[in-house]
Protein backbone atom coordinates (compact mmCIF):
# COMPACT_ATOMS: atom_id res chain seq x y z
CA UNK A 1 0.00 0.00 0.00
CA UNK A 2 2.88 2.32 0.89
CA UNK A 3 4.63 1.47 -2.40
CA UNK A 4 1.41 2.13 -4.33
CA UNK A 5 0.96 5.55 -2.69
CA UNK A 6 4.55 6.56 -3.46
CA UNK A 7 4.19 5.55 -7.10
CA UNK A 8 0.89 7.44 -7.29
CA UNK A 9 2.51 10.55 -5.81
CA UNK A 10 5.41 10.31 -8.24
CA UNK A 11 3.00 9.96 -11.12
CA UNK A 12 1.06 13.00 -9.89
CA UNK A 13 4.28 14.97 -9.62
CA UNK A 14 5.14 14.03 -13.21
CA UNK A 15 1.72 15.17 -14.43
CA UNK A 16 2.13 18.50 -12.60
CA UNK A 17 5.59 18.94 -14.09
CA UNK A 18 4.35 18.21 -17.60
CA UNK A 19 1.54 20.71 -17.12
CA UNK A 20 3.98 23.42 -15.92
CA UNK A 21 6.32 22.69 -18.81
CA UNK A 22 3.51 22.86 -21.34
CA UNK A 23 2.36 26.20 -19.89
CA UNK A 24 5.93 27.52 -20.01
CA UNK A 25 6.30 26.57 -23.67
CA UNK A 26 2.97 28.24 -24.51
CA UNK A 27 3.93 31.40 -22.60
CA UNK A 28 7.36 31.60 -24.27
CA UNK A 29 5.77 30.98 -27.67
CA UNK A 30 3.26 33.75 -26.96
CA UNK A 31 6.02 36.18 -25.98
CA UNK A 32 8.27 35.41 -28.94
CA UNK A 33 5.33 35.47 -31.38
CA UNK A 34 4.30 38.90 -30.07
CA UNK A 35 7.89 40.10 -30.42
CA UNK A 36 8.25 38.62 -33.91
CA UNK A 37 4.96 40.04 -35.18
CA UNK A 38 5.67 43.49 -33.75
CA UNK A 39 9.18 43.50 -35.25
CA UNK A 40 7.56 43.09 -38.71
CA UNK A 41 6.29 46.66 -38.34
CA UNK A 42 8.87 49.10 -39.64
CA UNK A 43 8.86 51.53 -36.72
CA UNK A 44 12.10 53.24 -37.70
CA UNK A 45 10.75 54.14 -41.16
CA UNK A 46 7.23 54.87 -39.94
CA UNK A 47 8.31 57.37 -37.31
CA UNK A 48 11.30 58.71 -39.31
CA UNK A 49 13.64 57.66 -36.49
CA UNK A 50 16.59 57.14 -38.83
CA UNK A 51 15.98 60.52 -40.45
CA UNK A 52 15.93 62.11 -37.03
CA UNK A 53 19.21 60.53 -36.04
CA UNK A 54 20.79 61.49 -39.39
CA UNK A 55 19.73 65.07 -38.82
CA UNK A 56 21.34 64.95 -35.36
CA UNK A 57 24.53 63.47 -36.82
CA UNK A 58 24.73 66.23 -39.44
CA UNK A 59 24.34 68.85 -36.72
CA UNK A 60 27.04 67.26 -34.54
CA UNK A 61 29.40 66.89 -37.53
CA UNK A 62 28.83 70.52 -38.43
CA UNK A 63 29.62 71.66 -34.87
CA UNK A 64 32.85 69.64 -34.71
CA UNK A 65 33.85 70.85 -38.17
CA UNK A 66 33.20 74.48 -37.11
CA UNK A 67 35.58 73.87 -34.22
CA UNK A 68 38.35 72.78 -36.62
CA UNK A 69 37.63 75.62 -39.01
CA UNK A 70 38.21 78.10 -36.21
CA UNK A 71 41.61 76.63 -35.33
CA UNK A 72 42.97 75.50 -38.71
CA UNK A 73 42.84 77.03 -42.17
CA UNK A 74 40.85 75.13 -44.77
CA UNK A 75 42.44 74.80 -48.20
CA UNK A 76 40.01 75.82 -50.89
CA UNK A 77 41.36 75.57 -54.40
CA UNK A 78 39.23 74.78 -57.45
CA UNK A 79 41.88 72.60 -59.12
CA UNK A 80 42.34 70.54 -55.95
CA UNK A 81 38.57 70.30 -55.55
CA UNK A 82 38.13 68.98 -59.12
CA UNK A 83 40.81 66.31 -58.60
CA UNK A 84 39.36 65.20 -55.28
CA UNK A 85 35.84 65.16 -56.74
CA UNK A 86 37.07 62.90 -59.57
CA UNK A 87 38.60 60.53 -57.04
CA UNK A 88 35.46 60.50 -54.88
CA UNK A 89 33.20 59.98 -57.90
CA UNK A 90 35.24 56.97 -59.00
CA UNK A 91 35.12 55.38 -55.54
CA UNK A 92 31.47 56.33 -55.02
CA UNK A 93 30.17 55.10 -58.39
CA UNK A 94 31.89 51.74 -58.01
CA UNK A 95 30.62 51.22 -54.45
CA UNK A 96 27.09 52.69 -54.56
CA UNK A 97 28.11 55.57 -52.32
CA UNK A 98 26.57 58.96 -53.02
CA UNK A 99 29.84 60.85 -53.45
CA UNK A 100 27.98 64.18 -53.48
CA UNK A 101 26.86 63.56 -49.90
CA UNK A 102 30.49 63.20 -48.70
CA UNK A 103 32.09 66.48 -47.71
CA UNK A 104 35.85 66.22 -48.17
CA UNK A 105 37.94 68.92 -46.51
CA UNK A 106 41.67 69.63 -46.54
CA UNK A 107 43.14 71.40 -43.55
CA UNK A 108 46.41 73.30 -43.54
CA UNK A 109 48.42 71.34 -41.01
CA UNK A 110 51.71 69.46 -41.15
CA UNK A 111 50.20 66.60 -39.12
CA UNK A 112 49.96 63.30 -40.99
CA UNK A 113 46.33 62.76 -40.17
CA UNK A 114 42.93 62.08 -41.66
CA UNK A 115 39.66 61.43 -39.91
CA UNK A 116 35.96 61.07 -40.46
CA UNK A 117 33.29 63.15 -38.73
CA UNK A 118 29.57 62.53 -38.25
CA UNK A 119 27.41 63.86 -41.05
CA UNK A 120 29.51 62.30 -43.86
CA UNK A 121 32.59 64.50 -43.47
CA UNK A 122 36.15 63.39 -44.18
CA UNK A 123 38.99 65.68 -43.15
CA UNK A 124 42.51 65.29 -44.54
CA UNK A 125 45.53 67.19 -43.24
CA UNK A 126 48.03 68.63 -45.67
CA UNK A 127 50.78 66.60 -43.99
CA UNK A 128 49.12 63.38 -45.11
CA UNK A 129 49.00 64.49 -48.75
CA UNK A 130 52.69 65.44 -48.51
CA UNK A 131 53.55 61.94 -47.25
CA UNK A 132 51.57 60.10 -49.92
CA UNK A 133 53.80 59.03 -52.80
CA UNK A 134 50.99 58.38 -55.23
CA UNK A 135 47.20 58.99 -55.53
CA UNK A 136 46.46 55.33 -54.72
CA UNK A 137 47.89 55.80 -51.23
CA UNK A 138 45.64 58.81 -50.66
CA UNK A 139 42.67 56.89 -52.08
CA UNK A 140 43.37 54.06 -49.60
CA UNK A 141 43.28 56.45 -46.65
CA UNK A 142 40.07 58.07 -47.95
CA UNK A 143 38.45 54.65 -48.44
CA UNK A 144 39.43 53.69 -44.88
CA UNK A 145 37.70 56.83 -43.56
CA UNK A 146 34.67 56.22 -45.80
CA UNK A 147 34.42 52.74 -44.29
CA UNK A 148 34.31 54.27 -40.79
CA UNK A 149 31.48 56.52 -41.99
CA UNK A 150 29.62 53.71 -43.70
CA UNK A 151 29.80 51.48 -40.60
CA UNK A 152 28.78 54.37 -38.30
CA UNK A 153 31.95 53.88 -36.22
CA UNK A 154 32.26 57.58 -35.45
CA UNK A 155 28.89 58.02 -33.76
CA UNK A 156 29.37 54.73 -31.91
CA UNK A 157 32.74 55.94 -30.67
CA UNK A 158 31.45 59.37 -29.64
CA UNK A 159 28.45 57.86 -27.88
CA UNK A 160 30.67 55.43 -26.02
CA UNK A 161 33.24 58.02 -24.95
CA UNK A 162 31.05 61.08 -24.41
CA UNK A 163 27.62 59.49 -24.05
CA UNK A 164 24.32 61.27 -24.45
CA UNK A 165 26.06 64.62 -24.00
CA UNK A 166 27.08 64.50 -27.66
CA UNK A 167 23.41 64.39 -28.72
CA UNK A 168 22.49 67.15 -26.25
CA UNK A 169 25.38 69.29 -27.48
CA UNK A 170 23.57 69.61 -30.80
CA UNK A 171 21.18 71.86 -28.89
CA UNK A 172 23.98 74.37 -28.26
CA UNK A 173 24.95 76.25 -25.08
CA UNK A 174 28.20 76.54 -23.13
CA UNK A 175 28.19 72.91 -21.99
CA UNK A 176 27.76 71.95 -25.65
CA UNK A 177 30.93 73.85 -26.62
CA UNK A 178 33.00 71.88 -24.14
CA UNK A 179 31.54 68.58 -25.37
CA UNK A 180 32.28 69.53 -28.98
CA UNK A 181 35.89 70.30 -27.97
CA UNK A 182 36.14 66.84 -26.44
CA UNK A 183 34.56 65.25 -29.51
CA UNK A 184 36.99 67.07 -31.82
CA UNK A 185 39.91 65.84 -29.72
CA UNK A 186 38.53 62.33 -29.81
CA UNK A 187 38.03 62.40 -33.59
CA UNK A 188 41.67 63.32 -34.23
CA UNK A 189 43.67 61.75 -31.46
CA UNK A 190 41.96 58.58 -30.29
CA UNK A 191 41.96 55.34 -32.17
CA UNK A 192 38.91 53.29 -32.94
CA UNK A 193 39.03 49.88 -31.37
CA UNK A 194 40.94 47.15 -33.13
CA UNK A 195 37.83 45.41 -34.43
CA UNK A 196 36.61 48.64 -36.01
CA UNK A 197 40.04 49.34 -37.52
CA UNK A 198 40.23 45.88 -39.04
CA UNK A 199 36.71 46.23 -40.37
CA UNK A 200 37.50 49.63 -41.90
CA UNK A 201 40.68 48.20 -43.51
CA UNK A 202 38.81 45.26 -44.99
CA UNK A 203 36.04 47.48 -46.36
CA UNK A 204 38.63 49.94 -47.72
CA UNK A 205 40.27 47.09 -49.69
CA UNK A 206 36.84 46.13 -51.09
CA UNK A 207 36.10 49.75 -52.06
CA UNK A 208 39.49 50.11 -53.75
CA UNK A 209 39.11 46.86 -55.67
CA UNK A 210 35.62 47.73 -56.86
CA UNK A 211 36.90 51.10 -58.04
CA UNK A 212 39.82 49.29 -59.76
CA UNK A 213 42.36 51.12 -57.58
CA UNK A 214 45.35 49.08 -56.45
CA UNK A 215 45.20 48.58 -52.61
CA UNK A 216 48.90 47.63 -52.34
CA UNK A 217 50.06 51.29 -52.18
CA UNK A 218 47.68 51.76 -49.21
CA UNK A 219 49.48 48.92 -47.46
CA UNK A 220 52.86 50.41 -48.47
CA UNK A 221 51.85 53.79 -47.07
CA UNK A 222 51.05 52.34 -43.66
CA UNK A 223 54.20 50.27 -43.60
CA UNK A 224 56.34 53.22 -44.63
CA UNK A 225 54.78 55.52 -42.06
CA UNK A 226 55.30 53.04 -39.24
CA UNK A 227 58.99 52.82 -40.15
CA UNK A 228 59.40 56.46 -40.95
CA UNK A 229 61.95 58.40 -38.97
CA UNK A 230 61.91 61.70 -40.82
CA UNK A 231 61.46 65.04 -39.17
CA UNK A 232 57.71 64.74 -38.99
CA UNK A 233 57.69 61.37 -37.30
CA UNK A 234 56.57 62.90 -34.02
CA UNK A 235 53.36 64.07 -35.60
CA UNK A 236 52.38 60.87 -37.35
CA UNK A 237 48.98 60.95 -35.76
CA UNK A 238 47.14 58.91 -38.33
CA UNK A 239 49.51 56.04 -37.90
CA UNK A 240 50.11 56.28 -34.17
CA UNK A 241 46.40 56.31 -33.39
CA UNK A 242 45.86 53.27 -35.55
CA UNK A 243 47.58 50.43 -33.69
CA UNK A 244 49.72 47.70 -35.21
CA UNK A 245 50.23 49.43 -38.55
CA UNK A 246 52.77 46.87 -39.71
CA UNK A 247 50.42 44.01 -38.97
CA UNK A 248 47.60 45.82 -40.68
CA UNK A 249 49.77 46.53 -43.72
CA UNK A 250 50.58 42.83 -43.96
CA UNK A 251 46.94 41.92 -43.52
CA UNK A 252 45.91 44.19 -46.37
CA UNK A 253 48.59 42.65 -48.59
CA UNK A 254 47.35 39.21 -47.66
CA UNK A 255 43.75 40.15 -48.45
CA UNK A 256 44.88 41.69 -51.68
CA UNK A 257 46.83 38.63 -52.81
CA UNK A 258 43.50 36.93 -53.63
CA UNK A 259 42.45 39.70 -56.01
CA UNK A 260 43.64 39.60 -59.60
CA UNK A 261 42.08 42.79 -60.89
CA UNK A 262 43.55 44.92 -63.61
CA UNK A 263 43.85 48.29 -61.96
CA UNK A 264 43.55 51.64 -63.64
CA UNK A 265 45.75 54.55 -62.59
CA UNK A 266 43.90 57.31 -60.79
CA UNK A 267 45.83 60.08 -62.45
CA UNK A 268 49.08 60.62 -64.29
CA UNK A 269 52.28 61.31 -62.36
CA UNK A 270 52.21 64.82 -63.72
CA UNK A 271 48.64 65.38 -62.44
CA UNK A 272 49.56 63.92 -59.06
CA UNK A 273 52.59 66.16 -58.70
CA UNK A 274 50.46 69.14 -59.67
CA UNK A 275 47.86 68.13 -57.06
CA UNK A 276 50.48 67.83 -54.33
CA UNK A 277 52.10 71.06 -55.33
CA UNK A 278 48.79 72.93 -55.18
CA UNK A 279 47.85 71.33 -51.86
CA UNK A 280 51.16 72.26 -50.27
CA UNK A 281 51.36 75.70 -51.83
CA UNK A 282 48.03 76.70 -50.36
CA UNK A 283 49.57 76.71 -46.92
Amino acid sequence: MVVFRTAYQLNLQKVKMKKALFHLIVLLALFFTTWFLLSRISFTTHFNLKEFSREQENKIGELIWDFFRQTEKEIKNDSIRVMLDDLMTRIGTANDIDSDSIKLHILSSSEVNAFALPGNRVVIFQGLIRDCENPEELAGVICHELAHLEMDHIMQRLMREIGLGIILSAGGGNAGTEIIRQAAKLATSTAFDRAQESEADSIAVIYLNKALIDPVPFSDFMKRQSENDHEYSKSLEWISTHPDSKIRAERIRKMQSKNKNEYKALMSLEQWNRFRELSLQSN
Partner: protein, 143 residues
Protein backbone atom coordinates in the same frame (compact mmCIF):
# COMPACT_ATOMS: atom_id res chain seq x y z
CA UNK B 1 -4.49 33.25 -18.12
CA UNK B 2 -5.93 32.68 -14.65
CA UNK B 3 -8.00 29.82 -13.28
CA UNK B 4 -10.13 29.93 -10.16
CA UNK B 5 -10.99 26.88 -8.16
CA UNK B 6 -11.16 25.29 -4.78
CA UNK B 7 -8.21 25.02 -2.43
CA UNK B 8 -7.25 22.11 -0.19
CA UNK B 9 -9.14 23.76 2.65
CA UNK B 10 -11.29 26.84 3.22
CA UNK B 11 -8.92 29.67 4.22
CA UNK B 12 -9.70 31.92 7.16
CA UNK B 13 -10.34 35.64 6.78
CA UNK B 14 -6.86 36.69 8.01
CA UNK B 15 -5.25 34.24 5.53
CA UNK B 16 -7.17 35.81 2.65
CA UNK B 17 -5.89 39.22 3.67
CA UNK B 18 -2.25 38.15 3.91
CA UNK B 19 -2.35 36.19 0.64
CA UNK B 20 -3.97 39.15 -1.11
CA UNK B 21 -1.32 41.47 0.28
CA UNK B 22 1.46 39.43 -1.36
CA UNK B 23 0.14 40.57 -4.78
CA UNK B 24 -0.39 44.10 -3.55
CA UNK B 25 3.30 44.36 -2.60
CA UNK B 26 4.46 44.50 -6.23
CA UNK B 27 1.68 46.95 -7.14
CA UNK B 28 2.50 49.23 -4.21
CA UNK B 29 6.18 49.31 -5.25
CA UNK B 30 5.15 50.62 -8.67
CA UNK B 31 2.66 53.08 -7.21
CA UNK B 32 5.24 54.68 -4.90
CA UNK B 33 7.35 55.44 -7.94
CA UNK B 34 9.83 52.60 -8.03
CA UNK B 35 9.32 51.14 -11.47
CA UNK B 36 12.59 49.19 -11.51
CA UNK B 37 11.64 45.50 -11.61
CA UNK B 38 14.25 44.64 -8.99
CA UNK B 39 12.33 46.76 -6.42
CA UNK B 40 9.12 44.80 -7.06
CA UNK B 41 11.07 41.58 -6.69
CA UNK B 42 12.70 42.71 -3.44
CA UNK B 43 9.30 43.79 -2.05
CA UNK B 44 7.69 40.47 -2.98
CA UNK B 45 10.69 38.48 -1.75
CA UNK B 46 10.58 40.34 1.57
CA UNK B 47 6.91 39.53 1.95
CA UNK B 48 7.52 35.89 0.96
CA UNK B 49 10.31 35.49 3.52
CA UNK B 50 8.16 37.15 6.18
CA UNK B 51 5.40 34.59 5.58
CA UNK B 52 7.49 31.41 5.38
CA UNK B 53 5.85 30.10 8.51
CA UNK B 54 2.33 31.17 7.59
CA UNK B 55 -0.47 28.85 6.53
CA UNK B 56 -0.31 26.87 3.29
CA UNK B 57 -2.78 29.21 1.53
CA UNK B 58 -0.67 32.30 2.36
CA UNK B 59 2.62 30.60 1.42
CA UNK B 60 1.13 29.32 -1.83
CA UNK B 61 0.08 32.79 -2.98
CA UNK B 62 3.31 34.41 -1.79
CA UNK B 63 5.23 31.87 -3.89
CA UNK B 64 3.07 32.48 -6.98
CA UNK B 65 3.53 36.27 -6.63
CA UNK B 66 7.30 35.83 -6.22
CA UNK B 67 7.66 33.53 -9.24
CA UNK B 68 5.70 35.91 -11.45
CA UNK B 69 7.96 38.77 -10.36
CA UNK B 70 11.04 36.69 -11.21
CA UNK B 71 9.77 36.16 -14.77
CA UNK B 72 8.99 39.87 -15.19
CA UNK B 73 12.42 40.72 -13.79
CA UNK B 74 14.12 38.59 -16.42
CA UNK B 75 12.37 40.08 -19.46
CA UNK B 76 12.57 43.62 -18.06
CA UNK B 77 16.29 43.28 -17.27
CA UNK B 78 16.93 42.21 -20.85
CA UNK B 79 15.09 45.34 -22.04
CA UNK B 80 17.03 47.50 -19.60
CA UNK B 81 20.40 46.07 -20.73
CA UNK B 82 19.44 46.53 -24.40
CA UNK B 83 18.42 50.17 -23.77
CA UNK B 84 21.70 50.88 -21.95
CA UNK B 85 23.74 49.39 -24.79
CA UNK B 86 21.91 51.69 -27.23
CA UNK B 87 22.53 54.78 -25.10
CA UNK B 88 26.09 54.06 -24.01
CA UNK B 89 27.23 51.18 -26.19
CA UNK B 90 27.47 50.41 -29.89
CA UNK B 91 23.94 49.07 -30.46
CA UNK B 92 21.58 51.07 -32.65
CA UNK B 93 17.85 51.69 -32.51
CA UNK B 94 16.15 48.95 -34.51
CA UNK B 95 12.71 47.50 -35.21
CA UNK B 96 13.64 44.46 -33.11
CA UNK B 97 14.41 46.66 -30.13
CA UNK B 98 11.18 48.70 -30.40
CA UNK B 99 9.18 45.47 -30.87
CA UNK B 100 10.84 43.95 -27.79
CA UNK B 101 10.07 47.02 -25.69
CA UNK B 102 6.43 46.98 -26.85
CA UNK B 103 6.22 43.26 -26.06
CA UNK B 104 7.49 43.78 -22.52
CA UNK B 105 5.08 46.69 -22.04
CA UNK B 106 2.20 44.41 -23.12
CA UNK B 107 3.39 41.62 -20.78
CA UNK B 108 3.96 44.01 -17.88
CA UNK B 109 0.52 45.55 -18.33
CA UNK B 110 -1.08 42.11 -18.51
CA UNK B 111 0.80 41.07 -15.38
CA UNK B 112 -0.29 44.28 -13.62
CA UNK B 113 -3.97 43.76 -14.47
CA UNK B 114 -3.87 40.04 -13.58
CA UNK B 115 -2.15 40.90 -10.27
CA UNK B 116 -4.91 43.36 -9.40
CA UNK B 117 -7.69 40.89 -10.30
CA UNK B 118 -5.95 38.13 -8.33
CA UNK B 119 -5.48 40.35 -5.30
CA UNK B 120 -9.21 41.21 -5.24
CA UNK B 121 -10.30 37.60 -5.75
CA UNK B 122 -7.90 36.18 -3.18
CA UNK B 123 -9.09 38.80 -0.70
CA UNK B 124 -12.59 37.25 -1.13
CA UNK B 125 -11.15 33.81 -0.42
CA UNK B 126 -11.17 32.62 -4.04
CA UNK B 127 -8.10 30.53 -4.95
CA UNK B 128 -6.57 31.86 -8.19
CA UNK B 129 -3.98 29.91 -10.19
CA UNK B 130 -2.05 31.68 -12.94
CA UNK B 131 -1.07 30.06 -16.20
CA UNK B 132 2.33 28.36 -15.70
CA UNK B 133 3.02 30.02 -12.31
CA UNK B 134 0.13 28.11 -10.66
CA UNK B 135 1.35 24.62 -11.67
CA UNK B 136 4.93 25.65 -10.86
CA UNK B 137 3.85 26.82 -7.39
CA UNK B 138 2.05 23.48 -6.89
CA UNK B 139 5.38 21.76 -7.54
CA UNK B 140 7.40 24.02 -5.24
CA UNK B 141 5.07 24.80 -2.34
CA UNK B 142 4.68 21.99 0.22
CA UNK B 143 1.67 21.64 2.52
Amino acid sequence: MIQTGGFAYKPMEHENERASNSYLMSLIAIMVGLPLPIINLIATLGFYLGNRKSSYFVRWHCTQALLSQLAVLMINSMGFAWTMSIIFGDKTLSNHYIAYMLSIIIFNLTEFIVTMITSVKVRKGIHVQWWFFGPLTNLICRK
